[in-house]
Symmetry: C2
Subunit: 187 residues, 2 copies
DNA sequence: TGGTACATGTAACATGTTACATGATTTG
DNA sequence: CAAATCATGTAACATGTTACATGTACCA
C-alpha cells in the first residue's frame, strides 16, 4: 500500500512524468523503495482515480508526448495522514540466509561463493554512498527538513552496508575454516 | 520463487505438517523468510505437483487429522541446485525511510515517534537474539554445517539489530535538534 | 546498423495479504 | 464459559515480476 505514498512523496517535491518517476525509483527514492515502470503506470492510474494527483499531457517536439503529474491538495493531506500511521520494521526476507539456515542440505561452497558476491556488491554500494556523502551532503547541517531527512537516510545506508560488509568477512572466515574454499564453485 | 525452497529446507531436516511449517515460519526460519499459513498450504500443493514433496495423512485421536509432508529425492536435488543459483541482496523497502525522504511534506514529529517505536522493537529483537545466543549456541564451535549456518544467521541478526539501534539513536538526536519532540504526536 | 534515451502502456503470472470458513480439545 | 491451540483450507484482492508491444531521435 506504500507505493502510492512513495509516488506522492516524489510529486510533493515537483511534478513529474511516469518516465521521470521510473528513473527516480531507480536512484534517489529507489534506495528505500523500488518500483519499475509497470507498477508506476498502474499506480498513477489509481492515484488519478483517487484524486490525489492530476496529469496533464505535455506536447514535446522531437520527443514523444508525455503526461506530467502534479500532486493535489488531497494528495498532500493523504501524505501527512500516512506519515502518522504505524510503520513497523519490514521483516527480513533473504534467500542467502535461507541457504545458510539449511546449510546441511545445500552446497556449502556455493553459499560461500554467494557471500563473496554479496561482499563485493555491498562494498560497491558503500562506495556509492560515500561518494554521495562527499558530494551532496558535504555542507548541509542546520538545514531544511529535506536535507535532514535525506542525510539520515544516507546515514542508514552507510551503517547498513558497513554492517553487511563486516558480517560477510566474518562469515567467509567461518565457512572457510569449516569447508576450505575451492574456486570452481561459481557457475 | 523462494518460498518453495524455504519449505524444502525445513522438510530436509524433518517431515512436517502444514501447521508445523506455519509455526516454523513464525520463528526459526521466520527470521529470514516470513510466510503465513495460506501461502504455505498453497505452496505445498504446488510442491506436491512438482514431486518435490509427498504428503501422508496421519490420523490422530483427540486432534484433527493432519497431513505430514516429506521431502523427496527430487526435492533434495532441487535444493542443492537452488543453492548454486545467484541470490543477490534483496532491495531495501521501508516506509519509514520513505517518510524520511519526504520529510518536508510529512509530520516530522510523527516520524520521530515512529523512530522511537522502531528503537524499542529493535532493542527487543536484539534481546531475543542475545537470549538465543546464550542458550542455543553457547557451546557449538567446530560443529556441523547446520550449527555453523545458524550461528552465522544469528550473528547477522545481532549485527543488523545493533546497526539499527545505533542509527535510531542518532536519528532521534538529529530530529530532536531540528524539531524538538512533543509527546502529543502519537495517535 | 545497432544501441541508448525518450515515452507509455497491456497481459499474464507469481507472490503476499486479508477475510472467511469449520470444528474438536485443552487451558484458565 | 471463553480463549487458545490444533488443523486445514478457499476466495478475493493487492502487489510485484516478466514478457510483450510500439515508435522516434540521437550517437558512434
Amino acid at each position: 500500500v506504500a507505493l502510492a505514498e512513495a509516488i506522492l512523496v516524489c510529486l510533493a517535491e515537483q511534478p513529474l512524468s511516469g518516465y521521470d518517476l521510473t528513473k527516480t525509483f531507480q536512484t534517489s527514492i529507489g534506495f528505500f523503495w523500488r518500483a519499475d515502470h509497470q507498477q508506476i503506470y498502474r499506480e498513477l492510474r489509481r492515484l488519478r482515480e483517487s484524486g490525489w494527483v492530476h496529469g496533464e499531457a505535455v506536447v514535446q517536439s522531437g520527443k514523444p508526448d508525455k503526461r506530467v503529474y502534479t500532486i493535489t491538495e488531497a494528495g498532500r493531506a493523504r501524505l501527512v495522514e500516512w506519515s502518522r500511521e504505524s510503520h513497523p520494521a519490514p521483516p527480513v526476507k533473504d534467500d542467502l540466509l535461507v541457504t545458510l539456515y539449511g546449510l546441511a542440505d545445500v552446497d556449502v561452497g556455493a553459499v560461500a561463493a554467494q557471500i563473496t558476491q554479496r561482499l563485493t556488491a555491498h562494498r560497491e554500494r558503500l562506495e556509492l554512498y560515500e561518494r554521495i556523502e562527499r558530494t551532496v551532503y558535504a555542507d548541509v547541517d542546520g538545514a531544511d527538513a529535506t536535507a535532514v531527512g535525506r542525510a539520515l537516510g544516507l546515514q542508514l545506508g552507510l551503517d547498513y552496508e558497513r554492517a553487511w560488509i563486516h558480517w560477510c568477512r566474518h562469515a567467509l572466515a567461518r565457512l572457510d575454516a569449516f569447508a576450505p574454499a575451492r574456486d570452481d564453485n561459481l557457475p
